[in-house]
């Protein structure tokens, strides 16, 4: 692996033969892995500017984050689309950022997936170098910087708009953050949605959310809101009963980040299927 020594090496000659990345003075990237990669491998980050890409690239669609009484619930549908084509049926849009937080992605899938990997490494890198984890707000600000670094691509149409949520161990509560393409970071007090079906999901959540909502109820509400989005938005994947594909759901509370198992999600999704999505024409009569 070619790790180049950047900036002034610590000593004049021999250190250049060290395979370890070491820096001197102002070129030192400190505890930031993002800055380290920019110093050593500028070809990896940030991405080069292009005029336009003459083909459709995969996009991730609807994601939600809901604050509940003891933490926060994150969920995302599984579909990726490229133009009118379905690019992926099993995409995972919700991922752990670290032990206490999660990140969900919507937008250009290539950049988004890479951004998540970079963000995960960044948080762990900081923790190992400093000996302490960043505060939840510090993590949100780091992600905002990565979104901002993608602005050039966003202006070509490859926008990445993640959601970030986690359990703030210093405040003992769940917190939800949204971002815009310019790296703006906003804290939401209740819930947030992003992606092509986000309006429908948000309206669904808005109708039922309340301050002391339990984790179980929030999980159901998240799954439900994604079904509602899939009902109205072609780019959002609904429950796939044939292939047994259901949304990705994670709960983050005082026990840390816990992804719900496929079986658990399937069970809950099945139970919710008798709801309004069945419509008036469903066998057995009108919806309740």
């Amino acid at each position: 692996m070619a790790i180049t020594l950047c900036g002034e090496p610590i000593t004049s000659g021999p250190m250049q033969t060290s395979p370890l990345p070491q820096f001197y003075g102002a070129t030192d990237p400190g505890a930031s892995f993002f800055a380290l990669m920019r110093r050593t491998s500028p070809d990896i980050t940030p991405l080069p500017l292009v005029d336009s890409i003459p083909f459709d690239v995969a996009h991730a669609t609807t994601i939600v984050a809901i604050r509940c009484a003891t933490g926060v619930v994150m969920a995302g549908d599984r579909r990726a689309t490229a133009g009118h084509a379905i690019a992926g049926r099993r995409m995972e849009k919700v991922a752990p950022a670290d032990e206490w937080s999660g990140v969900a992605i919507a937008g250009a899938a290539g950049m988004a997936v890479e951004m998540v990997r970079l963000f995960q490494t960044q948080l762990e890198h900081y923790e190992k170098v400093q000996g302490d984890a960043l505060s939840l707000e510090g993590k949100a600000n780091q992600l905002a910087q990565m979104v901002r670094a993608n602005l050039g691509m966003a202006m070509q149409g490859f926008v990445v708009v993640p959601l970030f949520a986690g359990y703030d161990t210093r405040r003992d509560s769940g917190r939800v953050f949204t971002f815009d393409a310019t790296g703006g970071r906003y804290e939401e007090l209740d819930y947030a949605t992003s992606g092509s079906g986000s309006v429908h999901a948000r309206n669904w959540i808005k109708a039922s959310w309340y301050e002391t909502i339990s984790t179980d109820e929030a999980v159901d509400l998240a799954i439900r809101s994604l079904f509602a989005a899939a009902d109205e938005d072609a780019a959002t994947g609904g429950p796939d009963l044939v292939r047994r594909i259901y949304p990705t759901v994670a709960v983050i509370d005082a026990k840390g980040y816990q992804a719900l198992s496929d079986d658990a999600i399937e069970e809950r999704a099945q139970a919710l299927l008798s709801g309004p999505e069945r419509g008036a024409n469903a066998p057995g009569g009108a919806a309740k």
Binding site: M1, I3, T11, G13, P14, M15, T17, S18, P19, L20, P21, Q22, F33, L36, M37, T40, S41, I44, R117, L118, T121, E124, H125, K128, V129, G131
Partner: protein
Amino acid sequence: MSMPFYVSPEQVMKDRAEYARKNIARGRDLVALECAIGVVVVADNASRTLSKISEIYDRIAFAAVGKYNEFQMLKVAGIRHADMKGYSYSREDVSARELAYAYAQTLGNVFTHEMKPYEVELLVAEVSETPDGNNELYHVFYDGVVIDEQNFSVLGGHAESITELLKEKYSPGLSLGDAIKLGALVLGNGEAALGIDRLEVSALDRERGRRTFRRIKGDELEGFLGA
């Protein structure tokens, strides 16, 4: 015309080695032991905040004795090296062997070419994925010599006498608690075992999932030492 004094290369190397050895010996020792759950590192360290043992990567830990600022810099360089490799390739491609080699090369070059060698001794440990796999313990010296050790590794000025003690008392497959107690005992170097206020303990615990490194302190450590 003034002539510089001639000093033989042999003498230069001897002087540097003695300088490094002497200063390393002034510090306190640490031991790493293979045990049932993986690898445990027990260090004689009176500080509560300045640690000698650190996490490098999922299955890799770093421990050092000697000059604090020097091994801290080497620790950070190692974390950067590992994270960059894992990010550029895959997490599975990061290995303790390669990292130990990078440290050996760095220390060796400084030892040969610089005025002053690093006054440190390093340990790079990797826990195996399964209990019947091989853990790896790499002991890197101030001059770039690297030894891969089995069962246990001792760093510091009293390495010889502590190794003798361990040869007598160590047996493979120790429980975590027994390994910590043994570490505290041998670090006492024939005298009383070290107490909780002198110990820094961390483990690579393969039961923990992806990130195996964890610090053992406070009540948990007290429980192990008392039991």
